[in-house]
Symmetry: C2
Subunit: 150 residues, 2 copies
């Protein structure tokens, strides 16, 4: 972890989340959820894809500089399927955009954080992603998404 | 609701959320949550205040173009206090920035959406805010925050 002190601002570009990439909502019915957001907030998904590795179909709605991700499980016995079964529809995780996911995971590991993914895997949009256990940050599941210069 | 069709893009500036203003996490211990985010993600709160009307102490952490809001109830018998008692710590709501909260509420009312606040009230940072019932959008509590030209 490189840490460059600039006045009162700590700047560690390799590990810092530089944006909220998305906020994810787990749903029973992706089409119904998209209809609700469309009708009430006049927003449309930019993309929609099945991510087999996570057993989800996901849609990304851009809102300003970030996205809302709507997730529907493709299998009941999957993390998102079990979440919806247990909790009903609702907020599922926050994803941070990072420049270097390997450096970010190394930093988290050095801090003793419990990782769900020790190594990055491929998520929606072909990005390298990894999840950090919710017990580390106020009961909130955090995803890291590597988004470099595009 | 004014709707200007520009090619495939629908643009309704009075009612459209133009950004995710913040994503809120309800916690038992605000200091502990801020310590966790600071240690793992090198982020610091920009502001911290008590919003008596909502019976919360809240801190805002800027991440890129949006914020994470950490909420701790100041009274157990309050919406956030009851949420944490029932669910434990975790994601609580998404807030959309809008230009004209009155126009946005009028649009939502015309669409038959169930509003928690029929009229705006004053929230953190002195902004006009209003909550929309989670049953309208995939079990997700939505807050509107009027953020004009600043």
């Amino acid at each position: 972890m490189r840490l460059v002190v600039m006045g009162a601002t700590r700047y560690a570009p390799d590990v810092l989340p530089y944006n909220i990439h998305h906020v994810a909502i787990a749903v029973e019915d992706l089409d119904a959820a998209l209809d609700g957001f469309r009708t009430l907030y006049n927003v449309e998904p930019l993309s929609r894809e099945i991510v087999a590795d996570q057993a989800v179909e996901e849609a990304m709605i851009a809102v300003g500089g970030s996205h809302i991700q709507i997730l529907q499980a493709t299998e009941a016995d999957s993390p998102v399927g079990r979440f919806v079964e247990r909790n009903g529809e609702g907020l599922h995780h926050i994803a941070f955009a990072v420049v270097d996911i390997d450096a970010a995971l190394e930093h988290l590991r050095a801090e003793g954080a419990r990782l769900i993914d020790e190594k990055p895997r491929t998520g929606g949009g072909g990005h390298k992603i990894a999840f950090v256990h919710p017990k580390e940050t106020a009961g909130t599941l955090i995803e890291l998404v590597e988004v470099g210069h595009e």
